[in-house]
């Protein structure tokens, strides 16, 4: 890249050339101040929110009970209990979501990059964009209309996962697609020249080269669906007990644990709400950071 000279140096004008007039310098300075101010304005809420959840929720997280117990038998008046049931529910539902979304997403990306040309491929690409923009509550209503109203099934853990699949697939498609596009064409051509069939080229040359990028996409997708509340409101009623069965009974998740007690005024319940919020933030941010670390060690780079 032909680097732009550092702007500081550009203000050093050779003798004989006029400096920008006063009004122009002032405008330039005002723009610099405003742009920097915009950045500060954007960082303030981030710091404020993180500070809020940390200061209100951190104490409970140091308690071993928080990570090992459920809320079974705990009322709003009583202290104690943990978030084990909710963390477990969130992780289980996210795992099933990933299990369904990753094959669909990766295959769709392979189609778009390696096979698809013409009208069908353009339609797929357009629909991925539309899917990216679908509000989570609409995805949840769709699964509700299908699962509960049409098939008459119960609201269980796996129905939540189905709704989350709709939200995760586009993230996986777009990030995988980005990575596949970065795989140099020379690699594919070299493989074809050696007589390797296309499917072997994709599965043993293209995908491994793009692997870490795909992992990043999956992690970022997981981070997105784990924080979703709307599908849980409609499809995943809260339960205070541990439930590991995705096909029977109500299953807790961190967002519904927060939602359950958010209007409580009693101190023990309020503390647990903020502790659950902090747990969720930490979980989502950890996935996010992990995703970026993996991306850093990627074999294909922009």
């Amino acid at each position: 890249m032909t680097a732009l000279a550092p702007p500081e140096r550009l203000t050093v004008v050779p003798a004989g050339l006029a400096k920008p007039s006063g009004r122009r310098s002032v405008t330039n300075l005002a723009a610099t101040v405003l742009v920097t101010l915009a950045f500060v304005i954007a960082v303030v809420p981030l710091v404020w929110i993180l500070w809020t959840v940390l200061s209100k929720g951190l104490t409970l997280l140091f308690d071993q009970q928080w990570w090992l117990n459920s809320q079974r038998g705990i009322t709003s008046r009583r202290e104690g209990g943990g978030a084990y049931h909710a963390i477990l529910g969130t992780l289980l539902q996210a795992a099933v979501t990933a299990l369904i979304s990753v094959p669909i997403g990766v295959l769709t990306a392979i189609y778009l990059v390696e096979y698809g040309r013409g009208r069908l491929a353009r339609a797929v690409s357009f629909m991925v964009d539309i899917l990216t923009g679908i509000p989570s509550i609409v995805a949840a209503l769709f699964i509700y209309a299908l699962w509960v109203t049409t098939f008459g099934l119960d609201r269980v853990g796996v129905s939540v996962s189905f709704a989350l699949v709709l939200l995760m697939v586009p993230v996986v498609v777009r990030s995988t697609e980005e990575m596949l596009k970065l795989v140099p064409n020379e690699l594919r051509e070299a493989s074809y020249a050696l007589g390797v069939p296309k499917w072997r080229t994709i599965s043993s040359i293209v995908l491994p080269t793009a692997f870490s990028g795909i992992v990043t996409g999956v992690l970022l997708g997981l981070a997105r669906v784990m924080g979703e509340t709307a599908p849980l409101l409609i499809l995943g009623p809260y339960s205070k007990s541990i439930n590991t069965d995705l096909f029977h009974g109500f299953m807790a998740a961190l967002p519904t644990m927060i939602n359950q007690d958010r209007t409580e005024a009693l101190q023990p319940a309020v503390e647990r709400v903020w502790a659950a919020a902090l747990t969720l933030v930490l979980l989502v941010m950890a996935l996010n950071i992990l995703g970026r670390v993996v991306a850093h060690f990627s074999s294909v780079r922009k």
Partner: protein
């Protein structure tokens, strides 16, 4: 992070993506791989079509039984035998809160994107960009809690009360009796939530400004701001418009943060244009009543509201896509 509005290889086919069809030999493995990939693509199309079709089929009976005008009525009563529901209130609150959120977020997002791509030293640019991306990693329910429990007080004291005091003669800023979360507070929180989305895409297009344009402007004696105004902003405009639409789409459909913050109004509350009023958006109306989905007819009324939300976001996202598509035609 990947692009938000996808520029697929299929859209830029003339620029020479990977060779299509090359190397295919028609043997079993090839046919399986091609079939599976194509099948997944068709599945994605099928999913979106199914969402629309299913919502429509479940909403249709409720719409047929509806005794009020669906578009203009302000009633939403689904209890008892008769269905009377309209979306006038929901549409107003949804559009008002989202449009204000977009108006608040776009200037800040443009500023942040310019800061990261044009002002910050390269060593600082990456961490700065990452910091803004972290805003997108905060779950929406946490935004809701923060908005309702922490931001509410300072917002009332420093934003709502002064505004209502100074501009109360404008219907938009007339004070109301709502004591908890109001539409403007929701807009502010939504603006923070969509900020990283708009920033990410704007950043991407600003960074793509041809170096020759920028150096040309500087060589002609432009200050840094003049260079940005004449080279970077015109080049990035379609990207910024597209990013704003994506942000708007996200704000329209946001559920739990709005549900937590916005005070609901009792049925039959008088109409008000004020941003200091309460109310419900499409998404929060559905979420607030999720526990009452018992009969198909009742559920159908809420699915009808969801269908309108789906069509609204579909339209907004399609416009975003078309705008960015046209930019491509320009730059090639």
């Amino acid at each position: 992070m990947s692009t938000i509005t996808g520029a697929s290889v299929v859209d830029t086919v003339d620029q020479g993506g990977p060779p299509a069809g090359g190397g295919s030999t028609g043997r079993l493995g090839d046919r399986l791989m091609a079939g599976a990939a194509k099948g997944a693509g068709i599945l994605v199309i099928g999913l979106v079509v199914l969402v629309g079709a299913f919502l429509l089929s479940r909403a249709a009976p409720a719409l047929a039984a509806n005794q009020a005008n669906f578009v203009t009525s302000r009633v939403f009563s689904v209890d008892g035998g008769t269905l009377r529901f309209g979306i006038a209130d929901l549409l107003w609150v949804t559009l008002l809160s989202s449009v204000i959120a977009m108006a608040l977020a776009v200037p800040v997002a443009i500023g942040v994107a310019l800061f990261i791509t044009q002002y910050a030293p390269r060593r600082l640019a990456t961490p700065a960009a990452y910091l803004i991306d972290l805003l997108a990693a905060v779950p929406s329910i946490v935004y809701g809690l923060w908005g309702a429990k922490v931001l509410l007080q300072p917002y009332r004291e420093h934003v709502q009360d002064p505004l209502a005091h100074a501009l109360g003669w404008i219907p938009l800023f007339r004070s109301t009796s709502v004591s908890a979360g109001t539409i403007l507070l929701v807009s502010i929180v939504l603006a923070i939530m969509i900020l990283p989305i708009i920033t990410a895409l704007s950043r991407e297009v600003f960074a793509q400004t041809p170096v020759a344009h920028k150096e040309g402007a500087l060589a002609l004696g432009a200050t840094r701001w003049e260079m940005i105004r004449t080279a970077v902003l015109p080049f990035g405009r379609p990207g910024v418009i597209s990013a704003s639409m994506l942000g708007l789409g996200r704000a329209l459909g946001e559920t739990i943060a709005v549900t937590i913050i916005l005070s609901t109004l009792p049925g039959g509350a008088p109409w008000s244009f004020s941003v200091f009023n309460g109310g419900e958006t499409f998404a929060s109306r559905i979420a607030n009543n999720a526990a009452e989905f018992d009969t198909p007819a009742k559920t159908g009324a809420f699915i009808a509201a969801g269908l309108v939300l789906f069509l609204l976001t579909f339209a907004v996202n399609a416009v975003a896509r078309i705008v960015i598509e046209r930019r491509k035609a320009f730059t090639e």
